[in-house]
Amino acid sequence: MKDMWTAIPARGRVILLVLLAALLVAPAALDRYFMSVLILIFYFAFVGQAWNIMMGYAGQLSLGHALYAGLGGYVAALLWFYFGIGPWIGVFAGVAVAAAFGAVIGWLGFRFGIEGVYFALLTIAFAEFTRIAFDNMSFTGGPGGLFLLYEEQRTHEWWNLRGGPLLFYYLGLALAAGGALLTAWLARSRLGYQWLAVREDQEAALSLGVGAFRAKMIAVLISASMTAIGGVFLAFYYNSLFPAQAFDIGRSIEIILAPVIGGLGTIFGPIVGAFILTPLGEALIALTAKFGVDLPGTKAVFYGLTLMIIITLRPDGVWPWLKRLLGLEPKS
């Protein structure tokens, strides 16, 4: 743990501490709009980190991560809805179910050598399959959605994730920071090296005795579990779930944007990406409004354009470039 900290150059440590401190005290100075944007940033940084573990470190392209978020959210929400079981317990069930799905997908994919785009399609297929299944199940509310009650007398039960923006702000911050810490720790572990080896060249990794199947399975399980936790967070933040949104491929795409734009296989990539993309969307809304452009779709066109420009100019993501710019490259 300690060497994780000492590995960061001094200037980086200062910046990191200042940013963290700023985010910790920010709610005192921020209005609710910025809080709501930051909560989204934290969410996307966290689930982006989860995806980063699987893709950035272990090199497995999943385009169906909404599946895990949706399952986590649904399972915890259903336990709360039917049995009043709080999310702190429900999250374990949600994680277990999501991890089970991850295990099936991983087993099929890795056992049968499904790689690259094919593996991505496998993950999409599972997400879509589950979406349609949830659309056709009545106890989950079907396409009509699952709604969690907003009870005024319980709005301070933070232990049941019944609370206001402050609760979700700090929870989101904790998730994003915790996710980054976990990733940093894993990346420096034996497992982390095995993931990198598998990502770079699986055959060469095997010849060095790396159990690629096991390493990849663990990556999927960790990634699915983290994403499921993110899903629980979101379900209780919004108090409603709809299969068409929870499992939508659009959701899966949203999850992967931050880590790719920020920088895959880096710890700060997903965070930087989330801090770029979510505010970008908000800024584009504000800008189109400011310039009196009242044509729906304008914002999205510019958003798409930005994605294309960033991926063309900074294919490795913004963070590696930013790191050099800030002089944070570790000395060799």
């Binding site: 034996r190 090296y193 770079e200 095997l206 010849s207 060095l208 005795g209 159990g211």
Partner: protein, 242 residues
């Protein structure tokens, strides 16, 4: 000396083409054993079978007294066989040191231990000063050495070297030869190498097997083999004996 590796009548067929044909040989514990032969003789196929990339169609491979044919590459490495690839495959985006750490982690659970071991290996292979470079930025000779370092870091009992000398300048080659000799002498590492460069083979090998069309045409000490008429006819005659 007992045999560390025993290859007993293995064959491999690709789409009807017999790549290796009932081949048998033994690599003694602590020896350096070379396999030579023209291109397409089945040398790399032989290596791939020993290393577990694919299973032989028939025959048996015994390592340290246990059957290993049909095991997967990672299991074989875990038993103590390290290998390099003819066309090098370093992990390009990783640093030289991290490349070697991956190997070192096979028998070490802590990255710090693995790093220490990796650095030892890198020192031995003259790569220590380049340990922070990305593997993709290395020159070919350095990459070849990195391959050896990575395989060595797994603490193998047997090291399979697939043409590590190809493309090296004579001085670089001599350096590798002496490194390998040192390893063999000091640690008792057994080496099985495929090599085209006869100069290196003659300097290193205690025993040579000549492979032609998937079958052994000669086997013995270097001096015996180079004088073998069949070998001269089918292989050495066609190329310069360096």
């Amino acid at each position: 000396m007992s045999a560390l590796l025993k290859v007993d009548g293995i064959s491999k067929r690709f789409r009807g083409l017999l790549a290796v044909d009932r081949l048998s040989f033994e690599v003694p514990q602590g020896g350096i054993f070379a396999v030579i032969g023209p291109n397409g003789a089945g040398k790399t196929t032989l290596f791939n079978m020993i290393a577990g990339v694919f299973a032989p169609d028939g025959g048996a491979i015994t390592f340290a007294g246990e059957r290993i044919d049909g095991l997967k590459p990672d299991k074989i490495c875990q038993r103590g066989i390290g290998r390099t690839y003819q066309i090098v495959r370093p992990f390009p985006a990783l640093s030289v040191e991290d490349n070697v750490i991956v190997g070192a982690l096979l028998h070490r659970h802590h990255v710090s231990d693995a790093r220490a071991h990796a650095q030892d290996v890198l020192r031995r292979l003259d790569l220590y000063d380049k340990r922070a470079q990305r593997a993709s930025s290395l020159t070919l000779p350095d990459r070849k050495r990195l391959e050896v370092a990575r395989a060595l870091a797994t603490d193998p009992k047997l090291l399979l070297l697939d043409e590590v000398m190809a493309g090296l300048r004579p001085t670089e080659m001599d350096r590798i030869v002496s490194i390998l000799q040192e390893l063999n002498r000091e640690t008792g590492l057994t080496i099985l190498l495929i090599e085209h460069v006869m100069r290196a083979v003659m300097a290193l090998a205690g025993q040579i097997l000549v492979l032609h069309h998937g079958a052994s045409i000669a086997q013995g000490s270097p001096q015996q083999v180079v004088r073998d008429p069949a070998v001269i006819h089918s292989y050495l005659g066609a190329e310069d004996v360096a």
